[in-house]
Amino acid sequence: MGADGCASPRGIVRLALAAMGTRFELVLVGAGAGTRQPELLAAGEAAMSEIEWWHKRLSRFERDSDVSFIAREAHLRAPSHPISLDPDFFDLLVMCEEARVRSGGAFDVRVGAEMDRWIAGEPQRGRSTPVAMPEFLLDPQRRTLHAPGGVPLRLDLGGVAKGFALDRAAAILLEAGIDNALIHVGTSSIIAIGPGQGGDGWKVRIDPGREGTAADADDEKKAVRAEAHLDVMLRDQAVSVSSPRGRTVLTSDDSLATRGHILDPRSGLAAPLGRTVVALSPLASPLASSSTAAAACEIWSTTLVVAPELLDQLPASVSAFLHDSTDHTDPEWRMHPPQRSDLNLSTPARSTRSAAHLAAMETS
């Protein structure tokens, strides 16, 4: 893993980093002719270093991460010796817990054990009872975590960690005085700071039809989807897109079916293919290093994939587009709240059958 830096003479720095199983990219725009390239590069590297830090802390696939430490130890500790947490990590878990309550369990980071079974290829047969989740207690006074049930607490932060890392990286940029930047992860989550290179914002295209479904074989439909992109001008905003990718599983009637990679924590079943959610949120105003906009967007885009009925129950700071073709009809994008004057959509939302994701970023 390593940041790969590239600086241009025009006061623009681009960096990339492989982390969290994907690629983070960063574009920084200097404030003008007086901006020194080394300082821009230093700020960008510090932001990437922050992402790397959180990758190492939050990954359940890294044996030496905090998440793995919690899984090994939280349930074995006496209540008098709970696990002390970094304040940012603690706040993240509080945010996740609030989302769990608000979503009625449709978002739940305790889904790690279920994900392990899913990744291991355990057949997803019919379930008649809800998934039993291990308990954990967060003590805001001591900033600690304890798992009282004696069951290993396998957290899966896959539905929030990338957005959280973006938030922390953006905080580093803001602290370094950067006021014009775009940072994204795997084209699924973005933070756009400032006016971009052209001064009107950062133009982002949400491009449907890039993920594999059976409908992809139909060239005509592909062409329709190619036109059905959504262009958004972002300025001081975060965006996250969630859409299940296909994986073949054994169903309860022993037939094979293609299911998504996002689990519904309430049932332990994978979300169906064909549902796409785009969540947007403004960064804190005035721009503050404590923003959690990208984390919130990732939480709610993930949640709405498994629970689209929650579209009108989003937190006030989050807006979302939902596109649902799971019933094989030709749907329209639904938006909540219905009217958003602060979004600049250069192409209206169109119907599509397939998944969408952020595929192109134009910096001019």
Binding site: G2, R57, R63, D64, S84, I172, E175
Partner: protein, 409 residues
Amino acid sequence: MAPTRRSFLAQSVGALGAMAILPELSYSRAKNAAKLNIGLIGAGRQGRAIIAELQKMENVSIIAVCDSEESRASGGARRAAGSTAYTSHTAMLSAAKDLQAVVIATPTHLHTQIALDCIAAGKHVYCEAPLAHTAEDCRKIAAAASAAKSLFAVGLEGRSNPVYQLARTFYRTDSVRDAISIEAQSFQKTTWRFPAPNADREKEVNWRLDPAISLGLPGEMGVHQFDVAFWYTDSYPSSIRSTGSVRFHKDGRTIADTIATEMLLKDNLRFNYLASLANSHGGRFELFRGSNAAIKLGWSHGWMFKEADAPTQGWEVYANRQQFHNDEGITLIAGATKLAEQGKLKEGVGLPHPSVYYSLWDFMLSCTEGKPVVADAGLGARATIAAILAQQSLIEGKTIEITPDMLKI
């Protein structure tokens, strides 16, 4: 009763691995260990990592965090719940009455005075490596530590790393046999430049790029890896030759971003070290080649690559393996005995904590249970002086022949 395949595996692995390894959970819980109040001096990136690791230890309380920059001191104190922020170490030493030990994680050139003041205040000290930025300062610290009643440990992480401890038992037996060569590298792609809150602090923040105080790549990156070679071979170099230049980061710096160092160890064993800030391929590792096998160490992981004609030792037939292009590595697993008994050998691949954790853990045990200090000031001074000489060789462009007096502490 004839041994089963599993019991044979457990016994065999246990016989070879027992010297070094404790079950992983014992690394966060010291049975009946006394409480230890620690203060951190230096709340930058390394300080943050240290806070994170110390907080895993049930009997450790971080009660003070000190940094000359107020925002970093307060930020560090925020991370260590219940601690107090200080902007000078002397203020911390006089105000924090319950302080028993300190961890020094400041820039290298600031270690000396802080270390001497902490020793004088009777505190146990853990100091990050390199120990200091001059040989004279290394000796000053070592002398003060030697005369003190309190403990002094240096963060030479390899010596506390369970994978490295295990691998060393192999290196020093017939598993590797005749030492052929040692190679190590530290490659990453970074400018080594950090953002400063204002222009006045730019030079202070980017001390690594200041030739007046920086030990360059040999010191800041190499010292840990140099010490692993010294520890494994139980020797120090008789000569050092470094070369290097600014290959990529041509932003006005004079500190080399790419270097090569060659040391001659005991029995004319060559130790070649490469480091660069311009390419990350391969990252950081050490490779010990012997006539029977090679051992490759990557801080959280270790592997042994046996020669085809090396004698079979039995246990490796059942060991976990990884393929590296044309070579197959036997994974060196910390806690192999226990894991093998549980049939969970594969789960032991990689350390359960970052490398720095184990150095801090050993320090904590030294303070609370009287465990001998793993890397004392003398070891820290010798490794640091070797790194200083490597940087000096690079600057002067000549081989430095090392006499015993030069490494005498």
